[in-house]
Amino acid sequence: MGNLFGKKKSRVTEQDKAVLQLKEQRDKLKQYQRKIEANLMRERQVAKTLLRDGKKEKAKVLLKKKRYQEQVLSKTDNQLSNLEQLVQEIEFAQVEARVIEGLKTGNECLKKMHQMMSFEDVERIMEETQEGIEYQREIDELLAGGLTEDDEAAVLEELAQLTGVEEAGNQLEQLPDVPMDKLPEIEQEERRKERTEEREMVLAS
């Protein structure tokens, strides 16, 4: 409760502070490089102008200066490379530290789990389970062979009765087959004659 209104605990480590200082140094070097590069471009243009105007000596001095600045640029490149390598090594070491911390936590968790359930406990539980299975099997056997001879006879008698009822029912259901013979056909001509006669009679009336 005391920390309720207090400042939150910082998540920034001492290594982070070191990395920040290195990165700031890197930024300053980059800014310095940009400045030199801008100077080099400008001086190249000035040297061209001086040569065009015939001021060879001044152009020579300027090119010497330019050469020196190029060497400085090369040195800063090396320094920058060293700085960046150092930063990467620190950052990778931090990642490794987090991985190791994770493994440590995992191992501790696993140990606690093993403490909760020892080998002896598992063996005992398995034995108890086996005993339970055996006991259940015995009960099943008792139930399966639990009928007396009288019960068996009664069951068979009931079965015979049921079979008799079913047979009687089958006899009632036996009906004669449907005849398959074709009916005699009246010839078509006779039918036609009959129709015409009927029509004539209707017309006459």
Partner: protein, 175 residues
């Protein structure tokens, strides 16, 4: 950088005089507000000096010989202040800070970049964020220091980052 596209109103002389009709004036001020923000966004300008701006192309169209008055400029800037897009830097209201995006929006953009580049649990310098080689294509590249810090403070409130400041060193660690 492509040239800035002026809206059609910029070539319309009455646009440079605040209209007496309330409805018309409302639309006019809204159009000016959009123009001010669009202009600053395009040129990545984060500060506005009222005196200097009178002669800048923003409020002065030499082509049609029209210029917005100081009172009109203040009316527009006041509207932008109400919307939360500008803040006066002094009581005399001579200069203001322009925000075409809120600090929260800038913060989200920065955090999206940090997450995308795997920069969480990593320290960054403020220079690296606003002027680094890795952020050249990002919208927050070239962001003014005051706005960058304000954007990072919004991330700090969300516990997505922590601003580091000791001695002359200033940076941020993302989480």
């Amino acid at each position: 950088m492509a040239s800035f596209q002026w809206p059609w109103q910029y070539e319309f002389p009455p646009f440079f005089t605040l209209q007496p009709n309330l409805e018309t004036k409302k639309k006019q001020v809204a159009a000016w507000c959009d123009l001010v923000l669009a202009y600053h966004k395009h040129h990545k300008i984060f500060n506005l000096d009222v005196k200097e701006s009178q002669s800048s192309p923003l409020f002065n169209n030499t082509k049609i010989d029209r210029k917005l008055s100081t009172d009109a400029i203040y009316s527009i800037l006041e509207e932008l202040r109400v919307k939360g897009n500008i803040e006066w830097t002094d009581k005399t209201r001579a200069q203001c800070l322009v925000m075409w995006r809120t600090p929260e929006e800038w913060g989200n953009l920065i955090y999206r970049w940090a997450s995308g580049c795997g920069m969480t649990n990593t320290v960054c310098t403020l220079y690296e964020l606003a002027h680094g080689d890795d952020t050249k294509r990002e919208e927050f590249f070239g962001l003014d220091d005051w706005l960058l810090k304000r954007a990072l403070r919004t991330l700090e409130k969300q516990r997505k980052a922590e601003i580091m400041s000791f001695g002359t060193s200033e940076g941020v660690k993302f989480f």
